[in-house]
């Protein structure tokens, strides 16, 4: 669905975070990675809305691990970027760089 979609800014950020984290990508580190790098506070609500949306577009896939005691006996939900997601990042990235061509942001 919507193969020619461009990513929203936050979707973009989340996908990049998943790529950075690799096999360690589940809720807590994703949130912390984004907060650490972008210096902006994000809520689990916005994070999971976005992850769910990305999953329904086929950009990411998620699966549950075994329950861990540190989480009160609850399972972790791991995320991985699918080939479709990588394509979407490239597409958005390309669109951005095309639009930036010839512009010098320092001078504006």
């Amino acid at each position: 669905m919507a193969a020619r979609d461009y990513l929203g800014e936050f979707e973009h950020i989340v996908l990049l975070a998943l790529l950075r984290l690799g096999p360690e990508a589940y809720g807590v580190p994703i949130r912390q990675e984004i907060e650490k790098r972008t210096k902006r506070a994000i809520t689990v609500g916005s994070l999971y809305s976005t992850l769910d949306r990305l999953e329904s577009k086929g950009y990411v896939q998620s699966w549950f691990s075994d329950p861990t005691p540190a989480r009160g006996g609850r399972a972790k939900r791991y995320f991985r970027v699918e080939p479709l997601g990588v394509k979407a990042i490239r597409r958005s990235q390309k669109a951005l760089s095309v639009m930036l061509e010839g512009l010098d942001l320092q001078k504006i």
Binding site: G27, R31, V44, Y48, S49, R71, G72, R74
Partner: protein, 893 residues
């Protein structure tokens, strides 16, 4: 000691977790709650962070909640409907800030006073004890059917020590059972003073599951031999205030009732023991001979003096325990045929014994009734406001009905508004109750005599209080919202849409409802005002009530000779010497000994055979020395008082002075002097009659009062009365040093008679102040209500008024019409209210100092005041009606 494994983990807010589980689908709950838990328990986030995160997923913005996870069944549909109702209600209420504010304030006050009363009832009788797993701790009390011949020290529902042992050894449902008794003792050492403590069985702390914060608890051996285990566990507060929380106190001794006790432990902070009076210390029950000198309570099998608490075995229900213990009770009963014991086994609270609960129930109901009336007036007011608003919204409602909304849907919408108002009012009420109960508790504690220990009441907000406030909020929303909601949706679509709503004849049933609401308000308000008025009159009378004895310049001194181990013979010597020394002080007119200080709250009763013909009677008694009558200013009206010789070294109480009321009651029309009474084997001769006084209670003259001369027995419990021209503070200081010179350990509790008298006036002062506040608020609410209804009625009938004026009605006729119609429900309410007030006044008569319950001044005054307020409330809109311009009115709408 923190557990090294669990210490770094913080438990997330329980309510937030519950909300997450409620709102999220299972899969989302699993990963989101897991994330939050993981981060919260290890990271340095505050609870507010957890809440912020929770809110981000439970608000409608978050898409993946339960309903979207299971589209087919759609269990949240009802919820979302309500969400819409709430959204709409919020918007409507926001558009009517004035209405909302008035309604929330009125309700907040009404719910606030109700919740305040509940807070106290909760603290005393509902809140479980501050112990581990409190819900499995039961209190055990007994009541008796059939004749019993039982001695009582405390309450009859308490147990004897042998009974405790029987229950302990024979029960099969409790993992432990402990007994305790409250004792008042004298602390020796550098700062001697009175203390309240508990003597307890040695498993007390084990059963309650509270291990001492410091040191150890009692061992089994310490409860084996009477008076052989001089050890104590101190209360945390007492340890902090008296010993500056010095941990090295363990192993040292404190002196109680002249006996050195080794401190073996300190109870955990926030554990006041199992009685209303916080315990400063606990000692083994075997120390009873030291703690309650002169008694052999441990041996007596038919003496009520111990309270029992037990811990249920895991998996055992309270009713199983009750059945098990009742079998044991039946077995004990066989020794005391024909008595039948009924056990009361319930979750333990601070006040569990059946007698106190009965009193609390009566007092609590009275208080809840009074504050319930205020809430009723508030509800009637808001119902009226809702009715008026519903009328104004008739068109909106008609359009909704016409476009296909069901009536139920509209009722639900209007009710949602009511519930929202009520919940906001409830929230305001909880805030107010929290504040006012703290204020009241401080007031009560401050007005307790300084020699009494405080009260261990925990009035902090808990789920029960919140639940109660929420429940009455819902009830009130039904009370003020239901009728208007149904009324409002019963619309004639045709006329409403054509804007004929303000016609001449519509809404007959609605105006009937309004009139009824006014009547209810007036009658309820009258009851409140009469009650307040009577209490104020009572207060006024109490300030000037003559107790029948002099209250000025008289100092009293209670001594703790008995606790200090004095026998009556030694105490007699002590008292004689003390009276001699004190009599020699400058400015002293008279010194007397007395068994009881008048109005001190202690009473003594005995049974004698007296009167013609002789019948067994309960009489109140006191024993006094010869100077008592002169010192107290109680004249002897017939016969004579005691001579000095008669009150010295006497062994038998065989002469007596009786009060006038006693004489009137038992020997009406006869001269009582020379008559005889019989107490067991002693014949007592009446030698004189003393003027009536209020020695037992300030609210009434003693119905019986018999004075005996002081004798050898009972010397260790006598008090000193001193009349002096010097200031009481100075006299008290000299008395203390005189007592100190005789025995430095003896504690003197010195107070003036006036202080005792004032203490009796305090409750009526408090009650009158509270009642006056409630009455005033009731009047305010009711007058606003009446004004609102009349004013609204006039607005609706502007066209009618215009026609009347056009047809020639003059100002007076219009005034009479409007005021007359407005006053009709008021007068009906007054009538009902007067009858109800008379009933309430009769019930209150015990609290009124010498005021006739049907006090004409109060009844007439209050009715007149209420009528005047109602007249004013009617007159203002009526005057507006007379100023209607007929031309404008006829063109109106």
């Amino acid at each position: 000691m923190k557990d090294p494994i669990t210490a770094p983990f913080k438990t997330p807010p329980r309510l937030a977790c519950w909300l997450l589980r409620l709102r999220l689908s299972k899969a989302h709950y699993e990963c989101i709650a897991g994330d939050l838990f993981e981060e919260y328990s290890t990271g340095g986030h505050p609870a507010s962070w957890f809440w912020q995160q929770t809110l981000s997923v439970i608000t409608p913005k978050f898409e993946h909640q339960k309903h979207s996870a299971s589209q087919g069944t759609n269990p949240m549909n009802l919820f979302s409907g309500f969400a819409k109702d709430i959204q709409y209600a919020v918007r409507t209420l926001r558009l009517n800030v004035g209405f909302t504010a008035v309604a929330v304030l009125a309700l907040g006050f009404g719910i606030g006073v109700n919740t305040t009363v509940f807070t106290f009832l909760n603290a005393v009788a509902l809140r479980p004890l501050p112990v581990r797993d409190a819900s499995s701790i039961v209190s055990i009390y007994q009541t008796f059917r059939g004749p019993t011949n039982r001695s009582v020290d405390g309450a009859i529902s308490y147990f004897s020590y042998p009974e405790f042992q029987t229950y302990r050894d024979q029960n099969k449902t409790l993992s432990g059972i402990a007994a305790s008794a409250l004792v008042y003792v004298s602390l020796g050492g550098t700062t001697p003073r009175s203390l309240a403590g508990q003597i307890v069985t040695c498993n007390y702390f084990t059963v309650l599951g509270r291990t001492p914060a410091l040191g150890r608890e009692f061992t089994k051996e310490e409860c084996e031999t009477p008076n052989e285990a001089p050890v104590a566990v101190l209360g945390h507060d007492f340890w902090s205030s008296q010993f500056h929380a010095d941990p090295s106190l363990i192993g040292k001794t404190i002196v109680i009732n002249r006996r050195a006790l080794t401190v073996i432990g300190v109870a955990p902070k926030g554990f006041p023991g199992t009685s209303l009076v916080p315990a400063a210390f606990w000692a083994p029950i075997t120390m009873q001979p030291t703690m309650i000198p002169g008694r052999k309570n441990l041996e007596k099998s038919n003496l009520s003096w111990l309270e029992m608490v037990g811990r249920l075995e895991p998996g055992v229900s309270i009713s199983q325990a009750r059945a098990d213990l009742s079998v044991i009770a039946d077995r004990i009963d066989q020794t005391y045929v024909p008595r039948k014991t009924v056990l009361a086994v319930d979750v333990a609270t601070l006040l569990g014994d059946p007698e106190s609960r009965t009193i609390l129930f009566a007092g609590g109901s009275a208080a809840l009734l009074a504050v319930g009336l205020v809430l009723m007036i508030a509800c009637a007011n808001i119902a009226n406001l809702m009715l008026a608003r519903a009328a104004a919204r008739q068109k909106e409602i008609a359009i909704r009905l016409a476009t296909g909304a069901s009536r139920w849907r509209l009722v639900r919408m209007l009710l949602t508004e009511s519930v929202l108002i009520a919940v906001m009012g409830g929230a305001a009420g909880v805030v107010m109750a929290n504040w006012s109960s703290q204020f009241l508790l401080q007031f009560v504690v401050a007005s307790l005599p300084s020699d009494l220990p405080g009260v261990a009441l925990n009035i902090e907000l808990d789920l029960r209080i919140l639940g109660y406030a929420f429940l009455i909020s819902l009830l009130t929303s039904a009370a003020f919202g239901l009728a208007p909601a149904f009324q409002a949706t019963r619309v004639d679509l045709n006329s409403a849409l054509k804007d004929e709503g303000s016609g001449l004849t519509t809404g007959a049933s609605r105006s009937w409802l309004r009139a009824a609401l006014v009547s209810v308000q007036v009658s309820v308000c009258l009851v409140l005002l009469v009650a307040a008025g009577l209490l104020m009159r009572g207060l006024q009378a109490a300030q000037s009530v003559d107790p029948g004895f002099k209250t000025t310049n008289t100092l009293t001194a209670e001594l703790d000779l008995k606790r200090q181990g004095y026998t009556d013979a030694r105490a007699a010597v002590f008292n004689r010497q003390l009276v001699e020394i004190v009599s020699g002080f400058p400015g002293i007119d008279a010194v007397s000994l007395a068994g009881l200080i008048p109005l001190s709250g202690s009473n003594r009763e005995t049974v004698v055979e007296m009167g013609t013909p002789p019948v067994k009677r309960h009489i109140r008694i006191n024993s006094v020395s010869h100077q008592y009558f002169a010192l107290m200013g109680i004249p002897i009206v017939r016969g004579r008082g005691f001579t000095e010789a008669e009150t010295r070294e006497r062994t038998l109480e065989d002469i007596a002075v009786i009060s006038e009321a006693t004489a009137r009651r038992f020997w009406p029309g006869e001269d009582p002097v020379g008559k005889q009474m019989r107490h067991e084997d002693t014949l007592i001769e009446v030698i004189g009659v003393a003027r009536d006084a209020r020695s037992t209670s300030l609210s009434a003259v003693d119905s019986t009062y018999v004075y005996f001369p002081v004798t050898e027995t009972g010397q260790s419990t006598l008090s000193l009365l001193i009349h002096s021209s010097e200031p009481p503070v100075a006299v008290a200081r000299r008395v203390r040093s005189a007592v100190g010179s005789l025995d430095s350990a003896v504690i003197v509790n010195a107070k003036t008679i006036q202080e005792y008298v004032d203490f009796w006036k305090k409750p009526s002062l408090l009650v009158a102040a509270v009642a006056a506040t409630l009455g005033f608020v009731g009047l305010l609410l009711a007058s606003v209500g009446i004004y609102g209804v009349i004013s609204y009625g006039v607005n609706r009938r502007i066209r009618e008024m215009g026609i009347r004026i056009t047809l020639g009605a003059d100002t007076r006729e219009i005034l009479t019409l409007v005021v007359g119609q407005g006053m009709r429900p008021v007068l009906a309410g007054l009538g009902v209210g007067l009858l109800a007030s008379a009933g309430v006044a009769k019930l209150m008569s015990f609290a009124l100092y010498g005021v006739n319950p049907i006090d004409p001044l109060t009844f007439i005054g209050v009715s007149a005041c209420l009528t005047a307020v109602a007249l004013l409330a009617c007159y203002l809109p009526a005057r507006r009606a007379t100023r209607v311009d007929p031309m404008v009115a006829l063109r109106y709408e």
